[in-house]
């Protein structure tokens, strides 16, 4: 009875739409990075839905940060191996 809360996916689309003007003002290269950030957040949408945070955008930011840090940790591993190879 009545309207249910929007799904996490809908919330993410709403947040993306709210940032549309910001994205539009970015350079093309930065726009692609911006889109990549939201794609990264999409990977953890089920965790965001489970969290049911009062401020969903904070969970999306956390998801983006999580993916960024995974990338950093992966690159660190590569750099370490390369250093060992050339040691």
């Amino acid at each position: 009875m009545g309207r249910t809360l929007p799904s996490a996916t809908q919330l993410m689309h709403l947040e993306e739409a709210a940032l549309a003007r910001f994205r539009r003002a970015l350079r093309r290269g930065d726009q692609l990075v911006f889109d990549d950030l939201f794609s990264a957040a999409q990977k953890h949408i089920s965790a965001a839905a489970y969290a049911a945070h009062a401020l969903p955008f904070e969970t999306f930011l956390m998801s983006m940060l999580l993916e960024e840090h995974k990338e950093i940790m992966h690159l660190r591993e590569i750099v370490k191996k390369l250093e060992e190879m050339h040691a």
Binding site: M1, G2, R3, L5, L11, A54, L55, P56
Partner: protein, 197 residues
């Protein structure tokens, strides 16, 4: 009796896009009425956040318009302690005009602010005779007057693009009961500037 004070707010095209207009928090002793379309929800939540930061506030949602996320965002702009502030908000929903009267009748007159969202929605019910709806609305308004003697009361009456005769009659009753009226008007059409060539 103090004559109602009417504030006409003209939105620019940018403001309408942002959908935020600042309404002051209601004061004890008067019913503050906001007459505006549904785009005003964000502003109502902003006003609600002001009340929630002060203490308990009762929200009666007549048209399923309460936006918890908008309220959380409004609170987050003002404090890190969002959760405690959210817990101050006590939400009741009414789906019929009878329920609206029942919810208002059960409210304590203890000084807790009351905000009614989209009050007239439950009264636009063609299944209930218009005269009956008018009587129920009058009862609701009397209850709100009693509450306003001890607590701030704010009411939002949603306007529609097409206004029927019944809508108008019910809105008039609401306008007569309010002491402070905030009316959001659509932006004026920009003056046409003919091209240079």
């Amino acid at each position: 009796m103090e004559s109602p004070q009417t504030h006409h707010l003209q939105t620019s095209a940018d403001e309408k896009r942002q959908q935020i207009t600042t309404f002051p928090a209601p004061k004890t002793g008067k019913i503050s009425l906001v007459v505006a379309p549904k785009t005003v929800v964000e502003s109502m939540m902003s006003m609600l956040s002001t009340l929630a930061l002060r203490g308990h506030v009762i929200v009666i949602d007549g048209g399923n318009r309460f936006d918890g996320y908008a309220l959380a965002r409004a609170l987050r702009r003002r404090t890190h302690q969002v959760q405690p502030a959210l817990k101050q908000v006590l939400l009741s929903r009414a789906f019929t005009c009878y329920q609206m009267v029942a919810v208002l009748a059960e409210l304590p007159a203890d000084g807790t602010p009351v905000v009614v969202l989209d009050m007239l929605s439950t009264f636009l019910d063609e299944n209930v005779n218009l005269n009956k709806r008018k009587r129920l609305l009058d009862t609701s308004l009397n209850l709100l007057r009693r509450i306003s003697e001890a607590a701030p009361v704010a009411v939002w009456a949603r306007t529609h693009s097409t206004v029927g005769d019944e809508d108008r009659q019910l809105l008039i009753s609401l306008l007569e009961a309010a002491q402070d009226v905030w009316e959001l008007q659509a932006p004026e059409a920009p003056a046409h500037q003919p091209p240079l060539f």
